[in-house]
C-alpha cells in the first residue's frame, strides 16, 4: 500500500499493536455508563428538556387560573389542592418519552451495537430509565417552583414534598416499562406517542387530580376511586400537606410493584428477542 487515502492510515497498525481487551464491565458500571449517555443527550439537545420545563409551567398556570375561581373560590385556594395532582399528571405524561427514545434507538441501529457487546443485556434499558428519572425530577422541581410562586404552601414541609415526589418517581418508573414494551412493538416514535396517549388520557383525567371525588356521580366515583392515579394524587396531597397518609401510599407501591413484575420480564424478553 504505497499511497494512503487515509490521513493517518499507517496508525491502524498501532491500534492493533497497542490493544488489550479488558474484562467485560459489571452490570452496575454498564448501567452507569448508559445513564451518562442519557445525560449527554440532554446536554447536547437541551430541547429535550422543553417538555419537562415549559409544559409543566403551562399546565400549572392554565389550570390554576381557569378552574381556581369556580372550584375552590380562588386560584390561591385551588392551587393547594391542584398542585400535587398536576405534578402527578405531568410526570405521568412524560413517561411516554421513555418509549419514544427507545423506539428511535432501535430503528437507528444503535441497539444492534449494544446487543452485540459482551455486557449485561438489560443495561441499555435500565440506563435509559435512569436518564428518564432525572428528567422526571427536573419536571417535578419546575412544578414546585412555579407552585410556590403562585402561592402553594405545603404544610408537610420539605420532607413531605420530597416523599411525595419520590412516590411519583416510583410510579413513573413502573409505568415506563409499559412504554418500553410499546416502543418495541410499534414502528415509529409517533405511534408510541399515539398508542400511549390512548391509555394516559383516561388514566389522568378520570382521576381526582382536578376535582374532588365526592363531586362526581356515584358510578363514576366507583371507577375513579380505583384508578391508581387517583391513589397517587391522594397520597401526594396528603404527604405534601402533612396529613396522615391512608392506604393510598400502599396502594401506589403495590400497583407499581405489580406493573414492574409483569412488564419488565416481558420487556426484557422482547428486547433479547430478534427484531
Amino acid at each position: 500500500m504505497t499511497t494512503s487515502v487515509l490521513p493517518n492510515g499507517e496508525r491502524i497498525h498501532e491500534l492493533f499493536a497497542m490493544h488489550r481487551r479488558p474484562n467485560p464491565p459489571s452490570a452496575l458500571s454498564a448501567v452507569g455508563t448508559l445513564a451518562w449517555r442519557a445525560m449527554l443527550k440532554i446536554k447536547h439537545v437541551p430541547f429535550q428538556l422543553f417538555d419537562v420545563t415549559v409544559m409543566p409551567i403551562m399546565f400549572t398556570l392554565l389550570f390554576t387560573y381557569i378552574f381556581g375561581g369556580a372550584l375552590e373560590g380562588s386560584p390561591r385556594q385551588y392551587i393547594q389542592y391542584l398542585l400535587p395532582g398536576i405534578l402527578v399528571q405531568t410526570v405521568v405524561f412524560i413517561t411516554v418519552y421513555t418509549g419514544m427514545g427507545l423506539n428511535t434507538d432501535i430503528h437507528k441501529g444503535l441497539f444492534d451495537r449494544f446487543r452485540s457487546l459482551p455486557m449485561w443485556q438489560p443495561a441499555p434499558l435500565l440506563g435509559a430509565l435512569a436518564g428518564d428519572l432525572f428528567r422526571y425530577s427536573v419536571a417535578s422541581a419546575m412544578i414546585l417552583v412555579i407552585g410556590l410562586i403562585l402561592g402553594f404552601r405545603p404544610q408537610g414541609g420539605i420532607v413531605g414534598v420530597l416523599l411525595a415526589v419520590a412516590l411519583v418517581l416510583v410510579f413513573s418508573f413502573a409505568l415506563s416499562w409499559l412504554w418500553i414494551i410499546v416502543g418495541m412493538l410499534v414502528r415509529t416514535p409517533e405511534s408510541v406517542m399515539t398508542t400511549s396517549f390512548i391509555f394516559l388520557m383516561p388514566l389522568t383525567f378520570a382521576s381526582d387530580i382536578f376535582v374532588r371525588l365526592d363531586t362526581m356521580p356515584r358510578w363514576l366515583q366507583e371507577v375513579v376511586g380505583r384508578n391508581p392515579v387517583t391513589h397517587l394524587a391522594n397520597a401526594s396531597r396528603d404527604l405534601m400537606h402533612g396529613e396522615p397518609v391512608g392506604n393510598d401510599v400502599l396502594w401506589v407501591l403495590l400497583a407499581s410493584a405489580v406493573i414492574v413484575l409483569v412488564a419488565s420480564p416481558i420487556a426484557m424478553r422482547m428486547y433479547r428477542k430478534e427484531r
Binding site: 500500500m1 494512503s4 487515502v5 487515509l6 490521513p7 493517518n8 492510515g9 496508525r11 491502524i12 497498525h13 498501532e14 491500534l15 492493533f16 497497542m18 490493544h19 481487551r21 479488558p22 474484562n23 467485560p24 464491565p25 458500571s29 454498564a30 455508563t33 448508559l34 451518562w36 449517555r37 449527554l40 443527550k41 447536547h44 439537545v45 434507538d105 437507528k108 441501529g109 444503535l110 444492534d112 451495537r113 449494544f114 446487543r115 452485540s116 457487546l117 459482551p118 455486557m119 443495561a123 430478534e274
Partner: protein, 320 residues
C-alpha cells in the same frame, strides 16, 4: 484448518418470507470474505445471525468454534458489527461515542478516553472529535462506525454494506481500512451489492440469492464462470440487435448475456482484447454501434450468468 465462521443449513423466515433457505458457509480465519447479492437476498440476515442478534429457525452457525446460540456471550467477546445503518448515537460527539463503547466493553474512563483519541487519530477524525455525529458527512459516519467496532480489536469483524451510498473518495478510504484491518489478522466478513468491491477486497466470495448460496469461490473462479470482463454496446438501431447478437456469438463462440433493453447488447469476454474483434466484425457488417465500453461484469450480469434471472427483483420487507 480452523474456520472463523462455519454455517450449516441456516434457515430463517420472517412471517411468510423465507429470508434464508439453507445457507452453508466456510470462512477461513484471517481472510476477507464477501457476501455478494441484491437487496433482500439474505445477506443482512446471515450477518445478524452470526453477530448473535437473530436466532436461526434451523441449522447451525459457529464463530471461531463457538455456537452463536449457546455461547452467544463468548461470541460477543470476539466479534464486532458495523451495521448497514449507522450504529452510533447521532446526538453524541465522535469522542463520546467511542468512550461510550469503550466503557461498555469494560475499559476504565481513562483508558476509554485514551483509546478513543487513538482511534480518532488513526481514522483521520481528530478535527471532528468534538462535533456531534449528526453533523458528519456520510464517509465520516462510516469511519466513526468502523472505529467503534475497533475499540476492542475483534477476531471477526462484520461489515454490512460498508460503502453503500458513499462517494468514490470515501469508498476508497473504507476499502483501505478494510485491507489494513485484514492485514492485522482480523477476519472480515462483508456484504456488498457491488461486484467490483467484492473483487477488490475479498479473497473468496459467496453469491447469495433468495436465501441460498448460488456460487462460491475466489473472485477469479467466479469470473471464469461469468467472464473476466464485459463488453457493453449501445446500438444506433433497435432492429439490428438480433443481427449483432448473432455476429458476436460467432466471434466469441458464445457469451451474449441476455437483457431486456432493445438497443443494448452485453457480452462476456475471456479477455478485453476480444472487444476489438467484435467491433471489427460489427462494422464490416454495417451494424451501427453508437457507444461501447469494456468493464467488470455488473452484479446484474453475474446474476444473469449464474441464475438466468435479473438481480433486481422487488424486496417486500426491510430484512435482507
Amino acid at each position: 484448518m480452523l474456520h472463523a465462521i462455519e454455517t450449516t443449513g441456516l434457515i430463517k423466515s420472517f412471517g411468510a418470507t423465507r429470508a434464508l433457505d439453507g445457507v452453508n458457509l466456510r470462512i477461513r480465519q484471517g481472510s476477507v470474505y464477501g457476501l455478494l447479492g441484491p437487496n433482500g437476498a439474505g445477506k443482512t440476515t446471515t450477518i445478524r445471525i452470526l453477530a448473535t442478534l437473530l436466532k436461526p429457525d434451523a441449522g447451525s452457525a459457529t464463530v471461531l468454534g463457538h455456537d452463536v446460540g449457546r455461547n452467544a456471550r463468548t461470541v460477543r467477546e470476539k466479534v464486532s458489527l458495523t451495521g448497514q445503518y449507522a450504529s452510533v448515537d447521532e446526538d453524541l460527539t465522535g469522542t463520546e461515542n467511542l468512550v461510550l463503547v469503550g466503557r461498555l466493553l469494560g475499559f476504565s474512563w481513562r483508558d476509554a478516553r485514551r483509546r478513543a483519541s487513538e482511534l480518532l487519530d488513526a481514522f483521520g477524525l481528530t478535527e471532528a472529535a468534538g462535533r456531534l455525529v449528526q453533523t458528519y458527512s456520510g464517509g465520516m459516519r462510516r469511519r466513526i462506525d468502523i472505529a467503534a467496532s475497533l475499540v476492542a480489536i475483534p477476531e471477526v469483524l462484520f461489515l454490512d454494506e460498508p460503502t453503500t451510498g458513499l462517494d468514490p473518495r470515501s469508498r476508497n478510504q473504507v476499502w483501505e481500512l478494510v485491507r489494513r484491518i485484514a492485514a492485522e489478522g482480523t477476519t472480515v466478513l462483508l456484504t456488498t451489492q457491488y461486484m467490483d468491491e467484492a473483487d477488490r477486497l475479498a479473497e473468496r466470495l459467496a453469491v447469495i440469492d433468495h436465501g441460498r448460496v448460488i456460487a462460491e469461490g475466489t473472485s477469479r473462479e467466479l469470473k471464469a464462470m461469468v467472464g473476466a470482463s464485459a463488453l457493453h454496446l449501445r446500438l444506433g438501431r433497435a432492429d439490428q440487435r438480433e443481427r449483432a447478437q448473432v455476429l458476436i456469438a460467432r466471434v466469441l463462440g458464445d457469451g451474449v448475456i441476455p437483457g431486456t433493453d432493445p438497443t443494448a447488447v452485453t457480452a462476456r469476454l475471456a479477455n478485453p482484447s476480444q472487444a476489438a474483434a467484435v467491433l471489427t466484425a460489427l462494422s464490416q457488417d454495417s451494424v451501427d454501434v453508437a457507444e461501447f465500453s469494456v468493464g467488470n461484469p455488473t452484479l446484474d450480469e453475474v446474476f444473469f450468468a449464474l441464475t438466468g434471472h435479473s438481480a433486481e427483483h422487488p424486496v417486500e420487507n426491510g430484512q435482507s
